[in-house]
Symmetry: C2
Subunit: 153 residues, 2 copies
């Protein structure tokens, strides 16, 4: 609480920051990350690691770049992350025989099994977000549309 002497300015300029979509996006994403950090603690995963696991649960045996396309992340981010997942024995990484440049990432048994522990997560997040399912869908679609606009530049 900043107690005094900055209330009379809140109508003019202070709102300038709060009026910005970009800041709302930034700050909301941080709040969402914090929620996930709490929920993912028991799985010993970070949110980006959880995203990679979700990708692999949907389709196993993907190359690094294929995971990268799905998440809009590149090898500089993914390689160390995947190494951490590997040392947690959730995935394996091996060069493909057909093309030795590529690295195929596959789930271990532990990695596959973790999916069951993660099943309750979406419901918990939805509860915490406090929006109706339709509101969440609408928001999601608007965000995806915005992202598409931002990416076409």
């Amino acid at each position: 609480m900043t107690d005094h002497n900055d209330n009379f300015e809140q109508d003019g300029d202070l709102l300038a920051l709060e009026s910005q979509l970009c800041f709302a996006l930034y700050a909301t994403q941080l709040s969402m990350s914090k929620l996930y950090r709490r929920l993912l603690k028991q799985l010993e995963l970070t949110y980006p690691q959880y995203l990679v696991m979700q990708v692999l649960w949907q389709k196993d045996h993907l190359t690094v770049s294929s995971i990268g396309e799905r998440l809009s992340l590149d090898s500089a981010t993914l390689t160390p992350l995947l190494k951490r997942l590997e040392s947690a024995e959730l995935v394996r990484r091996q060069r493909t025989r057909e093309d030795e440049r590529q690295v195929e990432v596959s789930l271990t048994d532990r990695g596959s099994a973790l999916r069951e522990k993660a099943r309750t997560l979406p419901a918990e997040v939805e509860r915490a977000s406090g929006c109706s399912t339709s509101e969440m869908k609408a928001l999601r679609d608007q965000l995806n549309a915005l992202k598409q606009n931002l990416d076409r530049i």
Copy 2:
């Protein structure tokens, strides 16, 4: 481009990731960051640094924690960031006389002047986002509502 052999799976599971609001939020925020990185390059600022500058342009002479409240960031993030702004000679940092625990952050002339260079930025972002102003406002309000829900836990 992943060319073949994973198109027939896109209806079932692949959409699970894309169906999630959280991922949309995450990915859109990354895209927005990329846009800002490009636009802020000429100002030699990162997006979080730009946020701090906006806060100070709105109200100068704030303590670290007061900036932190406005941006939902703590001293572990802000102290090094502010030191970078200081060494770029955009802000000054000095302990307040009344309470030596506090550090007051103030704009230098250079820091104030930078505001003029930043004036064109919001319009450029708005153009890139490709949404109407009313759409952006609606989206912003929904995000703020979501953030508020996420924070009350």
